[in-house]
């Protein structure tokens, strides 16, 4: 009797230990053959989402959640080939520049319809852009229209809009319109792939507020319902004429509040795709999910940026920053602290973007304590022999900031500490108010896959992404010249030259490129295809029959 009793306890203890070490389950799922079976053209994909911050209007979806939905409902003029970043036409038949790329003619594919049956015309685009650029409508992405002639009239620096429309936009006929730019941009067509350039149906303008709750688009899916904080449903649009017809019946975007909750649901097959594996499961997720684990690079970079307006960095010799860069052991940190979720950066431009050059920064991103010490010494040393890295503590940044600091400290003896701000808002406030004491964490995900997006939009002295006070006339001149180049190839090459200029000037220290660490359920056929922005290409996801 006594023996039997204790045996039972041992068994229970074993179950508890197994549960605690996550040995149970998991393994069997690895043997699933995800490529076997047939695709169900009407199968529904369920995907993770958080409540979008804004109503579902194309020009208002700055954050990733809202745009994830909008991108299924809308088809833009152009899109990019995943991996290469090459331009593909979607709703546009052609987008052609004049001789100096200052005026663009857009021809639409005829016969397209919005989901409510009204035709998609040149006017749908022009009206949409004019409305979205207007300061009175408070669209978060209005600055995207700043290249167009007449933007200042609808979006003045002070006061109310002077006009309703930008003079640079002209409707030629139902399927043609022209865009006049304030200065030539050879790759303007590439910018047009961003959500903000979507067309809007006539109906929108009579009730923008109601529309934001129930959007009508021209894309592969039509909007069905939005249960706030719970579920957004989109369904395949039978009348879609674009090249990217939906391979599934629709998508249910399910709301999750934490990555842990979503991951639990993925493991029990209650959701087909999650955004990111929680930090707690990073070590085990590949074992848990087998070949259903997703480990995929996307075009985004993380860096640390000196606050050039601060006392310490005002007149610093760039050699010092180069030295600090060489003091960071990117290989070890990405492997250990970040558990393989990042890839060491070797340039300012992320891979998958036109103009990314492997190893563009040469030795600057290579770990070499001796060189680091030498460079810092040559540059006159780090002011005060001390740096601080500002970051927002509401996300998981502390571990790597500490690791970077540790690496710098050990390699060079420079004192380095983290400077946490409680929230992202507080972090941004300090950046805007020019109150960053030393350096801050910077991150950038591509808007469009041309290298200019990772340089001009970040380090141009008047760029919206430039919050460090960095300014270099030579770089500004070179980027203007690059924008005016006769072809995109030419532009890309010029920006590669500009990158070498930045390498000498060090406006930031690139640390690593991002990767998606995610997973998919057993209901999905094949691997989920990914876009350059780190999101799945939902219309190409196949569901098993």
């Amino acid at each position: 009797m006594r023996g039997a009793k204790s045996a039972k306890w041992v068994a229970i203890a074993a179950v508890v230990t197994m549960a605690a070490t996550a040995c149970g389950g998991g393994g069997d799922s690895a043997s699933d053959d995800m490529d076997k079976g047939k695709a169900d053209p009407n199968g529904i994909v369920t995907a993770q989402l958080s409540e979008p911050q804004n109503p579902l209007q194309p020009a208002n979806a700055k954050e990733s959640q809202g745009s994830r939905v909008l991108r299924t409902i809308f088809a833009g003029l152009v899109d990019y080939e995943p991996g290469t970043g090459k331009l593909e036409y979607v709703n546009a038949e052609s987008v052609t520049p004049n001789d100096d790329s200052s005026e663009w003619t857009v021809k639409l594919k005829p016969g397209w319809k919005f989901h409510d049956g009204t035709p998609v015309t040149a006017k749908s685009y022009v009206d949409s852009w004019n409305w979205s650029a207007n300061i009175a409508n408070n669209q978060t992405n209005s600055s995207w229209f700043a290249d167009i002639v007449g933007f200042d009239d609808v979006h003045p620096e002070k006061g109310k809009a002077k006009k309703d429309a930008m003079s640079g936009l002209k409707v030629v006929d139902d399927n043609t319109f022209t865009i006049k730019l304030t200065s030539p941009v050879s790759y303007f067509a590439y910018k047009l792939g961003y959500d903000v350039w979507a067309p809007l149906p006539e109906k929108f303008f009579s009730d923008p507020k109601g529309y934001g709750e129930k959007p009508v688009g021209n894309g592969p899916y039509k909007f069905e319902s939005w249960e706030h904080n719970k579920l957004i449903k989109v369904r395949k649009f039978a009348g879609y004429k674009g090249p990217n017809k939906a391979q599934n019946g629709g998508i249910d975007f399910k709301n999750y509040t934490t990555a842990d909750a979503a991951y639990s649901d993925l493991r029990s097959n209650n959701v087909d795709w999650i955004e990111q594996v929680p930090t707690t499961a990073l070590k085990t997720y590949k074992q848990d999910l087998g070949n259903r684990a997703i480990d995929q690079a996307y075009s985004a970079v993380q860096s640390i940026v000196p606050a050039f307006y601060s006392k310490s960095w005002k007149d610093v010799d760039p050699k010092v920053i180069q030295g600090l860069s060489q003091a960071i052991d990117r290989d070890t940190i990405t492997k250990t602290v970040l558990q393989g979720t990042r890839q060491p950066a070797d340039s300012y431009v992320a891979p998958g973007v036109l103009g990314y050059k492997k190893g563009a920064l040469g030795d600057i991103t290579k770990y070499d304590p001796a060189a680091a010490k030498k460079l810092i010494k040559e540059g006159g040393g780090v002011p005060g022999n001390k740096i601080q890295i500002q970051y927002n503590a509401d996300q998981d940044h502390k571990p790597w900031v500490d690791a970077v600091c540790n690496s710098i400290r050990q390699a060079t003896g420079v004192e380095c500490t983290g400077d946490p701000k409680p929230t992202f808002q507080a972090d941004l406030d300090a950046r805007d108010a020019h109150k960053v004491k030393s350096m801050y964490r910077g991150g950038w995900v591509l808007d469009y896959p041309v290298n200019s997006n990772f340089m001009r939009d970040l380090y141009g002295s008047k760029a919206a992404g430039n919050t460090s006070g960095y300014a270099n006339k030579e770089f500004d001149a070179l980027s203007t010249e690059a924008d005016k180049a006769s072809s995109v190839d030419e532009t890309v090459k010029k920006y590669q030259e500009a990158e070498q200029l930045l390498a000498k000037d060090m406006p930031a220290i690139p640390l690593w490129f991002y990767k998606v660490n995610s997973g998919q359920s057993t209901k999905i056929l094949g691997k989920i295809p990914y876009g350059q922005d780190g999101d799945p290409i939902f219309d190409q996801v196949k569901v098993k029959k």
Binding site: V16, M18, A19, G24, G25, E51, P52, Q53, N54, P55, K62, E63, I135, A136, N138, T140, S142, S143, H155, P156, E157, K158, K209, G212, H228, N229, K230, N255, Y256, T257, T258, D260, A261, A262, S264, D265, R267, S268, N270, D394, K421, P422, T423, F424, Q425, A426, D427, L428, D429, D432, G442, G443, W444, D457, A464, G465, T467
Partner: protein, 308 residues
């Protein structure tokens, strides 16, 4: 009794104004500008920020904003959040969910807590009593979020008995696990409280009298003992309802329940002043009303308590 209730209701007005003003000021001094934060790494043009702030009235002094807010509140308008959705809508979505969760938790707390406590109290000093004491001690010492994660991991992820997340908050089966987790801590306190008062009251004079009268044991325990022992327990459970709504921030997060806790958490994170103030205002009202009800309930439980 009527005058007492009326006085208590009148007292609620200054408390209400005080708490809402405090919350309003506190949200206001939270670091970070929520309008600016909508733009992330890319700084927007100042004109746009100014236009949005003007649209929401953020460009006015705090006290003026507060007065405007209260004036609208009196007309039943809780304002809009930064996404332009009425806060009232957000709350009518979230409150029923939390209410269901809380009610279920309280029912579990009462059933399990009171019976455990009564059992231990009746057998004070025996093995059962010690067992309950140890069990409650263990429960009290484990933080709720640890308990929540363990419960989800064991029962949902590994054993697969229950769904890991709440998909449908009207399904009581799905709410069971989170409600149990939410209730555990208070359950332990209720058990201990009940046990002590039971053990004490067992020795009271009226118990001896009841026994001497030869009343059946069921009546002695069920009516005389239970009724008299419940007063502190009822107070505790009453104050606990407010605690539950607070505790729901953690439990709702773990089990992905779209209730008040979640709403509040997200709103605080994004410095959504109107949402935070709206939700807290309603919670304050709920707690005030519950406290009033508890006080009134005393008279029912113990007629000796009189309200002058």
């Amino acid at each position: 009794m009527g005058r007492y209730a009326a006085r208590r209701l009148l007292q609620m007005i200054p408390i209400f104004i005080g708490t809402t003003l405090l919350i309003f000021l506190m949200v206001h001094i939270l670091p970070g500008d929520p309008v600016r934060a909508m733009y992330g790494d890319k700084a927007p043009d100042p004109a746009q920020i100014a236009a949005i702030k003007h649209a929401y009235g953020f460009d006015k002094p705090v006290l003026e904003q507060y007065v405007n807010y209260m004036w609208k509140l009196l007309q039943g308008d809780f304002g809009n959040n930064l996404a332009g959705r009425p806060v009232l809508d957000l709350m009518t979505d979230a409150f029923p969910v939390t209410l269901r969760l809380t009610l279920l938790a309280i029912i579990l707390e009462i059933i399990i807590g009171v019976s455990l406590g009564a059992w231990a109290g009746l057998k004070a000093g025996k093995a059962v009593d010690t067992g309950v004491l140890i069990f409650t001690l263990v429960v009290i010492s484990i933080p709720v979020f640890v308990l929540g994660f363990i419960a989800r991991f064991v029962f949902a992820d590994e054993l697969g008995w229950l769904p890991p997340n709440v998909q449908d908050s009207t399904n009581l089966g799905q709410l069971f696990l989170p409600a149990l987790v939410l209730a555990t801590l208070s359950m332990a306190y209720v058990a201990r409280l009940t046990r002590t008062t039971f053990a004490e009251n067992l020795r009271a004079d009226y118990m001896r009298t009841a026994l001497a009268k030869g009343l059946p044991r069921r009546r002695i325990v069920g009516v005389h003992l239970l009724r008299n022992s419940l007063i502190p327990v009822v107070t505790f459970i009453g104050t606990d309802i407010g605690g539950f709504i607070g505790g729901a921030v953690i439990t709702e997060g773990i089990f992905n329940i779209q209730g008040v806790g979640n709403l509040l958490y997200r709103a605080v994170q994004t410095s959504e002043g109107s949402t935070v103030t709206g939700v807290v205002t309603v919670i304050v009202l709920v707690i005030l009303v519950i406290n009033l009800l508890i006080d009134l309930l005393y008279a029912v439980l113990d007629p000796r308590i009189r309200y002058a």
